[in-house]
Symmetry: C2
Subunit: 415 residues, 2 copies
């Protein structure tokens, strides 16, 4: 039986694995977490809107009935390309075909020491960590007698004006200005300052300019201070320096740079400047036609020669394409030679009142866009365990302005 | 305005606070967690049946509309009885009336070094820690080639035959034998061994003997090995020694001894051997009629002179009694002098098929008892945020045998 190994159970890896159900092959999925994460809603966990288990499901249970597939919880140490083996801590896993779908991580642009000061948002643990920081800041503000300390505790800086930054800023503003408004006695959470910092000239730079402007205005209406064209030049325990300005802030969240996983290094393959492996038209690497890199770990181009965006639908399409290609090759059939990306659109929410959607020929903003965003996400959740529970909770939180997942968990000794 | 301080927002403290809504007083609730925990279902979080936010809610949001009440997230350092002040890390909080409801903690009977080896179950962090240990054990068993290591990883020892121990053992057995059964490829989770160890002669010793026997038989049917009359004499990273027998086990959970919080020490008040403060008939301490100790932190006797059990309804009744007493005193009215405990019954579940209920004049076992247990708990959940979501999820998990909250989160570097 041919052995197919998939590294990473994000959207790319998981949809490749699902597509391989029923194929006469031994499929092994390796991930360092035991869950598949619905990343587009991770900011909701970080801002106490959803509990982790509403957007993450054990990979094992998703693939439980797929008898040709096994799942290993392990960290990848490296790949032996010549011997066709993936090196894990405890064993080496041999493969005939390899799909590398290890995604991306934060980039601090050479300031890796900022990571503990300004955590990023990639995993469930990142999200509960940020949730703890945000909620603890309000708690500490309630306890302090010192005006300057209180102001610093009630100031939140989000670095990066992409979708994650915009979504975090909008939701934190709503948390402070609505959800928590009545919960404190000494402080007024509505006095909190939320600052969104973007080094470039506009928010959501992959969208047309009118949508970027709309997003900025919507955030301003929510009380978010948006600062454009101002890179962060310094970061410490007391706050950040942006464009020469010093901002004292207890909570800094990093939603800026993205760096690919070490896939290029493991494979000794050519990569671009952010570490994405340069793949051929069928998503295989140049040195080996049976090794594929997909999703955020790869630099994939569309028909116009532009990079395919790093979003869930793109990763899913690549996962399915590669799985189909391998299945056909195993069956001795000819297979498609070129991956073709079909772009459905971009969407981003700004709090609970507004969203921006850019379809290829059409754009949309406002509350209707928000509902389309919501329905689209519930639709994508179908197929995972208990979408009903998630949907009901979502509606409930929306109606009540509740933040049911407002738990401070985990110890933070360093803070 | 008279100042009432409540230490601890468990069942006792929270219900005291709620009862004081509308009383002309400044009420301050101090807790070291930001959430009230529905402790009777905590074992469900530890065994991946419910996510934390289904059984824990921010104290602030529960008391948000109660305008005379403020909440402080802080650790109590001590109490200055003479000056009527509670000492927190950052400030001293003065009181006219004090309600100490700080609950209980685990006791390792002088072997406090066993705590990291055999964690106990009191907080959300304890529960996610135990959940991580249980799930990680299965993952590691899947990865090992060594038979002895695999057996050790698939052996779970629960120490203590009270309700928590019985509930944990039954649920872990179901997790291994049903929920996870199809999820692994190299191991058979059904081969896991679950051992429940009790030093005394029977399980659930506060119940009549026939119910203890029933619980033991039900656990045996679920595949749990019950060992009675065998105290744990040694505990290390490899396993436990019980009654001379050495058991190699990767996961040991402590559900045995209970010790009261340091309330007695703080108050310099007389305590019993497990640290419960000896209170007067009106639950005040001997040295000060305006300082009360309730719930698991106190030794309270019923009309027959027997200790009131350490269960949620008892703590609630005491909280309400003390709040009412203080309110009447503030209003210049006479107040009840003696707390009278009304015992509704004891209940404990054994997996999802069975439960035991002991009402004062009647007892009940089996599946009907389980449903009564479930309905009783949903009824108790009413009044907290989103009971609907919890109920739906519960029913869903029950029907599908799912374990939706099966996430491994948090790092465990020490393990």
């Amino acid at each position: 039986m041919p052995r197919i190994v998939i590294l990473g159970a994000g959207f790319g890896g998981l949809f490749a694995a699902k597509k391989l159900a029923g194929v006469a092959a031994d499929v092994t999925v390796v991930d360092r977490h035991n869950y598949h994460l619905f990343q587009p809603l991770l900011y909701q966990v970080a801002t106490a809107g959803l509990p982790p288990s509403d957007i993450a499901w054990p990979i094992r249970s998703i693939l439980s009935r797929q008898k040709n597939t096994s799942v290993l919880l392990a960290e990848v140490m490296g790949i032996d390309v010549a011997r066709h083996e993936v090196i894990l801590e405890s064993e080496a896993v041999a493969f005939d075909y390899l799909i590398v779908a290890t995604g991306s991580t934060h980039s601090y642009f050479g300031h890796e020491d900022w990571e503990t000061l300004a955590p990023g948002l990639k995993s469930i643990d990142d999200a509960t960590h940020i949730r703890r920081r945000i909620l603890t800041a309000f708690e500490r503000a309630e306890m302090t007698d010192d005006d300057a300390a209180r102001e610093r505790l009630l100031r939140f800086v989000i670095v990066g004006g992409g979708p994650t930054g915009v979504e975090l800023a909008g939701t934190i503003a709503e948390l402070a200005h609505h959800t928590l408004a009545a919960d404190f006695r000494r402080i007024d959470p509505r006095s909190a300052t939320i600052i969104l910092v973007e080094a470039g000239p506009r928010l959501l730079p992959y969208l047309r300019v009118s949508l970027s402007d709309y997003a900025r205005q919507s955030l301003a209406r929510l009380g978010v201070e948006v600062r454009l064209g101002t890179p962060v030049t310094h970061c410490d325990r007391e706050g950040v320096t942006i464009g020469g300005d010093r901002i004292a802030a207890a909570t800094i969240i990093w939603a800026a740079g993205v760096a690919a996983s070490p896939a290029g290094r493991w494979l000794d393959a050519e990569s671009d400047q952010v570490g994405r492996v340069i793949v051929r038209a069928d998503l295989s690497i140049k040195s080996d036609p049976d090794i594929f890199v997909i999703g955020d770990a790869a630099l994939v181009k569309n028909a116009q020669g532009e990079p395919v965006p790093g979003i869930a639908p793109a990763a899913k399409q690549q996962g399915r394409f590669v799985a189909d290609l391998i299945a056909r090759r195993i069956a001795g059939k000819t297979s498609a030679k070129t991956f073709r990306y079909r772009h459905a659109g971009h969407l981003a929410t700004i709090g609970r009142r507004s969203a921006v959607i850019e379809f290829p020929r059409y754009q949309m903003t406002g509350r209707l866009a928000w509902w389309i965003w919501g329905i689209a996400h519930i639709y994508f959740l179908v197929g995972v365990p208990s979408p009903l529970v998630v949907s009901i909770r979502w509606l409930w939180e929306y109606i009540t302005y509740g933040r049911g997942a407002r738990l401070i968990t985990g110890a933070e000794h360093a803070d």
